[in-house]
């Protein structure tokens, strides 16, 4: 499937932006020293973010290899106002792009049986963080996570970002066997172990939904870019949904 995507202003580009005066009613934004497809896409995105101002406070825009010349109407704006207006628009576009990106992807709800029975590291974690186990659980399921990467083992999805208060180092000695469906945290990441495997993450619950099924297409319930929300369930529901202790 071919999808044509309109380039979006990236927030990472903003610190690299250099502005130089060009004339009494023009300034030039340099996006990079050299040209590249990414730079070209950023210039295109910035131009698009500003184009609706052309004919109003801006007179013309000249995008080129690594720069964008902005000609403003000095009957309406002073140089500093024009500069602020343009940079603000670009900043807004970058924020909007981030916002849109955060809304992209499907939202997937994963049920989790959080308990000391299903999460053997819950109590140690609570002690280390000076929180109650209930607080640990709440902080974990209230957050919406993004699938940043899939790897380590088939169906293993790296989710972020975990609430700072839950960030925990990996176990000093990894477990030989982490159970299938184990909901785990390490640093500011969280994941569901798709199958029994060795692992050093802190275990706080169990998810009854299979993370990887070779017989199904797609074989995983999620893909990179999806948004994941955990939902606490009871032991009875966990069993009813096919979970095993």
């Amino acid at each position: 499937m071919n999808t044509v995507t309109t380039p979006k202003v990236s927030a990472q580009m903003l610190p690299h932006l250099r502005l130089k005066v060009a004339g009494e009613q023009a300034f030039i934004l340099y996006f990079a020293e050299q040209t590249s497809t990414q730079v070209a896409a950023q210039i295109q995105a910035a131009t698009q973010a500003l184009v609706e101002l052309v004919g109003h406070s801006l007179i013309d825009l000249v995008p080129s290899y690594a720069s964008l010349l902005v000609v403003f109407d000095d009957n309406q704006l002073e140089f500093y106002q024009a500069r602020q207006l343009v940079l603000e628009r670009i900043r807004q576009a970058a924020m909007q792009a981030e916002e849109e990106a955060s809304q992209a992807g499907n939202q997937i709800i994963l049920p989790v049986y959080y308990d000391v029975e299903s999460g053997p590291d819950l109590e140690d974690l609570a002690r280390a963080k000076a929180l109650t186990t209930d607080e640990i659980i709440k902080l974990h399921y209230e957050q919406e996570y993004r699938v940043y990467a899939i790897g380590f083992a088939p169906g293993f999805a790296y989710l972020g970002e975990l609430d700072e208060r839950l960030a925990a180092p990996r176990l000093a000695t990894p477990r030989k066997a982490v159970p299938k469906g184990a909901v785990a945290i390490a640093d500011r990441q969280t994941a569901v172990y798709p199958s029994v495997s060795p692992g050093g993450w802190n275990l706080i619950g169990l998810c009854p939904v299979p993370m990887f099924d070779v017989t199904k297409t797609p074989s995983m319930p999620m893909t990179t870019g999806d948004r994941i929300k955990f939902e606490p369930i009871s032991k009875a529901d966990f069993i009813a949904m096919g979970g095993e202790l």
Binding site: K20, A22, G23, E24, A26, L69
Partner: protein, 317 residues
């Protein structure tokens, strides 16, 4: 309404409105009057809308025959204006009768003359403007034979229908002196940091002469060479008045019909108010550049705008 027949187009006569804006993204330049002050007041003397289409006559020699009764105003470079062999003043509304022959001499001071007609010339806009850019083949009279060309013998010029006004004149003190010393206020910018302090000092203290390569696209200067340490740069957008310095070190001030993108280093840009003065200079005329901060440039513009707003046209009795 057909208003004039062109008897002789002179050296170069182009239909111009205020310019073509917002089309840089497809590579179209601005065009428009090289001396916006003279252009604007020609229209005001006819009580036209701001930026109404007029004729920019370079050097002179234009001859028109009126096909109807109308009113005109001629401003800009000092030129003899004759209607039916009778000499009439510039910077004033002139009443024209059908059959009148308007004949422009050649500029004794300055280079650009503007002829506005009551109501403005009726020309179909291309890309939002009637401005003639010969290099692009766009603007002016439309049609395969005329588009983007200067006026030619036998061309018929139409104008919008308007009611007659009582003739107005520009107060004498407000008429520019095209023989005055020319100082081009320059906002440093672009690759200015790539020019040494010595070169900058030289550039702003020495006299430059307008070379034979001076047209609507740009004016190449002759004078002390300056050099940029930048030898390879990515082509980028060029604004009005940008001073491009090629390897030979002779600066070129880019004007209305400039290329929109270019790759020569630029030391900065001349203020639009001063490019209007530059556009009135002919080959061999002397000028100098003076640095101005962006803040002062805006200050100068505000003062000039205020001064212009204080000009009151006087009724001709």
């Amino acid at each position: 309404m057909n208003t004039f027949k062109v008897i002789n187009p002179g050296v170069m006569s182009l239909l111009q409105d205020a310019g073509r804006f917002g089309q840089h993204n497809i590579g179209l330049t601005v065009g428009g009057p090289m001396d916006p002050f003279a252009f604007t007041w020609a229209n005001r003397l006819c009580q036209n809308e701001v930026g109404a289409t007029s004729i920019e006559i370079t050097i002179g020699g234009l001859q028109l025959e009126a096909m109807t009764d109308t009113q005109i105003a001629i401003t800009g470079a000092e030129t003899q204006v004759k209607v039916n062999n009778q000499e009439l003043p510039m910077w004033q509304t002139l009443n024209i009768k059908a059959g009148d022959k308007i004949k422009l001499g050649f500029a004794s001071q300055g280079a650009r003359i503007y002829l506005a007609v009551a109501g403005g010339f009726d020309v179909e806009a291309q890309f939002g403007s009637t401005a003639t850019v010969v290099r692009e083949g766009i603007g002016g009279l439309t049609g395969a034979a005329s588009s983007g060309k200067g006026l030619a013998k036998e061309d018929i010029l139409a104008s919008h229908d308007v009611t007659t006004i009582s003739p107005l004149a520009m107060p004498k003190l407000a008429i520019p002196n095209y023989d005055a010393e020319c100082v081009l206020h320059t906002v440093l910018g672009y690759q200015e940091a790539s020019f040494s302090r010595v070169d900058k000092a030289s550039f702003f203290s020495c006299e430059y002469t307008v070379s034979e390569r001076a047209d609507r696209m740009g004016y190449r200067m002759l004078g002390p060479a300056i050099h940029s340490s930048t030898n390879a740069m990515l082509s980028e957008g060029i604004c009005h008045g940008a001073i491009q310095v090629p390897a030979d070190g002779q600066p070129i001030v880019l004007l209305n019909d400039r290329q929109t993108i270019g790759g020569y280093p630029k030391i900065g840009s001349v203020m639009a108010r001063d490019t209007a003065k530059l556009a009135q200079l002919t080959q061999g005329k002397k000028l100098r550049f003076e640095p101005v901060s962006i803040e002062d440039a805006h200050g100068i513009n505000q003062i000039q705008k205020y001064k212009e707003s204080q000009i009151t046209l006087v009724k001709v009795v």
